[in-house]
């Protein structure tokens, strides 16, 4: 039964906006997309050093086989997401806008998995591995943050000396409009998720986990709450529907009322945050020996015929997903990889789905072009919505004038690039464009300063 004590929904205290939710695919069950003819697997789908290919052209690989190994400390393994012959290893276009090394596999008609991978749907409840073994399996499985940040997960779980974690936070917020992949995962793979959470708790060495879910997913909240009823170590916390509730720092503030210090990491306040998609991938890697080779991608938009949540192999071209959702609408103006607030607009539909692709959003033409940018009228709405307490109008002006000292002093590096400021500005100023530019320049200046 429902044993949640909610007096008032928790939320982060500073700023935030509430864009229209537009969750058209919220009640669409996950569908498995058939294997494409070719998968193009980039070797750099994560933050850090790209992986190094360990296969050659012409070689035959099985599904789940390692095709590129970690290239350094901050790196991750890349696996074949389908079995087949390596057709070519070349530089192909990906979401970065630049051509990068990609391994293309011509997919077999009959799929062949690597031995030892459990492809069945049976729930494996017992966690028999030690902490070190769990971390090793997560590293081998190529697990990275699937909320979009793609930070290698095994590094996040390796707590640096001198720091301690006391609570694990699971991010089931999905605050971006339109996206529903995490929602469906929480509804349909709830038991696997709980086991995944327990595995992560063991890996971290903590006794407590909190799952934060925005209050527009009441079915997921009650389902998970029912399952964790008897277990007091995992609690489900519904959160106010406010963007960017799912931002790491905001989520930590909302759930345990601690502020990650400027320039710091969540571990500085004793916690680690993982996305539900990552948690599920951890379950599969540890309990089923299955590396990260597929993920749920929401295909959605106002004009899309069948908004869907598709289970897709990494490396599938985006055009396949759009076809499965009813084809590209005639009035398409923009195609976005991710959500409308922080996603990246793409210009080439043949690019592959990667580990961080949470959704494909089609925006119609009339919503794709920005209104003309005007002068700042000093309404201070950008300040009132900034979740980090910054002054976006000022950061934009000092960046335009090249005054990077002032930008650094006013904490431009604290910006999480959520886009709330540009969303709310009545003058349609390109606030975030210039703040990003300022961040990049200030980072370079600081690096140059530290070298001296």
């Amino acid at each position: 039964m429902f044993m949640l004590l909610i007096n008032r929904l928790k939320t982060f205290s500073k700023g935030g906006i509430h864009p229209p939710e537009d969750k058209y695919s919220a009640d669409k069950a996950i569908e498995i997309l058939p294997l494409p003819a070719n998968v193009k697997v980039p070797i750099s789908q994560h933050i850090g050093i790209p992986a190094v290919p360990v296969v050659e052209r012409g070689e035959h690989v099985k599904t789940g086989q390692v095709i590129a190994k970690t290239g350094g400390f901050v790196s991750a393994n890349i696996h074949a997401s389908a079995s087949g012959k390596i057709a070519k290893i070349s530089e192909e276009m990906d979401t970065s806008g630049y051509r990068r090394m990609t391994i293309m596999i011509r997919v077999d008609k009959e799929e062949e998995w690597v031995e030892g991978i459990d492809t069945s749907n049976t729930l494996v409840k017992d966690i028999t591995f030690t902490r070190e073994e769990i971390l090793q399996k997560i590293l081998e499985g190529g697990i990275v943050g699937m909320g979009g940040a793609t930070f290698p997960s095994h590094i996040k779980l390796n707590i640096p000396r001198g720091k301690k974690a006391d609570v694990l936070i699971i991010n089931g917020v999905e605050c971006e409009p339109y996206l529903t992949s995490d929602h469906r995962l929480m509804l349909e793979k709830s038991e696997e998720l709980i086991i995944g959470i327990k595995i992560l708790m063991k890996a971290l060495g903590v006794e407590r986990a909190i799952v934060g879910i925005e209050n527009n997913k009441t079915d997921a909240i009650s389902k998970l709450a029912d399952l964790t009823n008897a277990d007091s170590s995992i609690s489900i916390a519904p959160l106010k529907v406010q963007y960017p509730q799912g931002g790491e720092k905001q989520l930590i503030k909302a759930l345990i009322d601690r502020e990650v210090p400027s320039g710091g990491l969540p571990i500085d306040v004793g916690t680690v945050v993982h996305n539900v998609g990552t948690t599920y991938a951890v379950y599969e890697a540890v309990q089923k020996n299955k590396p990260l080779i597929e993920r749920i991608v929401t295909v959605t938009g106002k004009s899309i015929k069948n908004p869907s949540n598709l289970l897709v192999r990494i490396g599938t071209p985006v055009s396949d997903l759009i076809e499965a959702a009813g084809g590209l609408p005639d009035d398409t103006g923009k195609v976005i990889s991710g959500g409308p607030m922080m996603g990246k607009a793409i210009d080439d539909l043949s690019i592959p789905v990667t580990k961080g692709t949470s959704g494909i959003l089609i925006l119609p033409e009339q919503e794709s072009v920005r209104n003309k940018s005007k002068v700042c009228i000093r309404c201070s709405k950008c300040i009132s919505v900034c979740p980090m307490g910054l002054e976006p109008f000022y950061l934009m002006t000092v960046t335009q004038r090249g005054n990077y000292e002032e930008a650094e002093e006013n904490r431009i590096l604290d910006c999480i690039e959520c886009g709330s400021c540009a969303y709310i500005c009545p003058s349609n100023r390109e606030l975030l464009d210039y703040i990003r530019l300022g961040k990049s320049n200030v980072t370079n200046i600081i690096r140059a300063r530290e070298r001296v």
């Binding site: 530089e91 806008g97 630049y98 051509r99 990246k344 607009a345 210009d347 080439d348 794709s368 072009v369 920005r370 940018s373 390109e430 464009d433 210039y434 990003r436 530019l437 990049s440």
Partner: protein
């Protein structure tokens, strides 16, 4: 006279006088002793405060000149050798004569040569556009076309050509101050020796992709075929990452590489057209010209085929008498 007026005048004048005396003594006591030569040197400098010398403003440069024991490697690009000679005379020091430099645009990927792959709708700033994607064409190394270089120029020596989408440098106004070089996020701008009679040859491409890919995205890209290197007798050309680079100091302006380059990626500026070269080999680019020529520039209708375009190799030089181009 009204006593109020008299009181007012007297009291205000008195306050003014007292203030003036205090200020005089304070100015004397806290006076900063400066070398008078700094003022003299500053007077001959061009006062543009562009930073081309490497110092923050002309005053700072003047101070550096006066304070350095050896000024042979300090140079004002705006004032040039004339100004440096004057500085040398004031300070009684040796100055180095430097060849004049000019900014060049190492990209020829105009609208005609590069097809667009998306429509960019972000802030009109080249660095922001190149942080998002490599531009709105298939070549991620080429000019983005939003004019950050033009905005950075203090001397109004650049403009964006609306027909090609590329920046144009006005030779006569360019002072080689380095502002556009620093501004360009793609490193397309470079300072190049102006050359004998203003002639210079350089590879107008930054594309580091292999031949086939480069050519698919831009018709005048450097494919890294190395024919230019084979042809060059002076070892002035090197190749790295499928991109040729001509060393401006080593180049002897023999022009052989220009003829041999199949994609017309190598540009020659201010050369007269040789009589035996058919005009249809020349691509349709507007090159940097002298001031007179610039004033006569008309827009090029890119609907015409290349053969029909006028021969645009200018031969205008100080000592050349032939003013008209061989137009068709």
């Amino acid at each position: 006279m009204n006593p109020t007026i008299i009181t007012t005048i007297v009291s205000l004048s008195g306050m003014g006088a007292v203030a003036a005396i205090i200020l005089y003594f304070v100015a004397q006591k806290f006076k900063v002793e400066t070398d008078p030569r700094i003022d003299d040197v500053e007077d001959v400098l061009p006062a543009t405060n562009c930073g081309g010398c490497g110092f923050p403003g002309c005053r700072a440069f003047a101070e550096a000149l006066v304070k350095s024991p050896d000024i042979s490697d300090l140079h004002c690009p705006v004032g040039g050798n004339d100004v440096m000679k004057q500085v040398g005379a004031i300070l009684g020091a040796e100055v180095a004569e430097k060849d004049p430099y000019v900014a060049i645009v190492k990209c020829s990927g105009s609208f005609e040569h590069r097809k667009k792959t998306n429509v960019y709708d972000g802030a009109p700033n080249c660095t922001i556009a190149s942080m998002l994607y490599g531009g709105d064409t298939g070549c991620a190394y080429g000019c983005v076309g939003l004019g950050e270089c033009v905005d950075s120029c203090d001397f109004e020596a650049m403009y964006m050509d609306e027909n090609t989408g590329l920046p144009v440098v006005l030779e006569d106004k360019c002072t080689a101050c380095n502002a556009c070089v620093k501004a360009c996020p793609k490193d397309i701008m470079e300072l190049w020796p102006k050359g004998r009679k203003g002639k210079r040859i350089y590879v107008a491409c930054m594309n580091e992709e292999k031949g086939g890919v480069a050519k698919k995205n831009c018709a005048v890209a450097c494919t890294g075929c190395e024919k230019c290197i084979d042809e060059c007798k002076y070892d002035a050309i090197v190749i790295e990452n499928s991109l040729s680079y001509i060393d401006g100091e080593k180049c002897k302006l023999c022009r052989k590489c220009v003829d041999v380059c199949k994609t017309h990626s190598i540009l020659e500026i201010n050369f007269p057209p040789p009589k035996d070269r058919p005009p249809k080999d020349r691509p349709d680019r507007k090159l940097a010209r002298t001031k007179k020529e610039t004033e006569k520039i008309e827009t090029v209708d890119t609907g015409k085929s290349i053969e029909a375009l006028p021969d645009i190799s200018p031969n205008e030089n100080a000592d050349s008498s032939n003013e008209n181009d061989k137009s068709e």
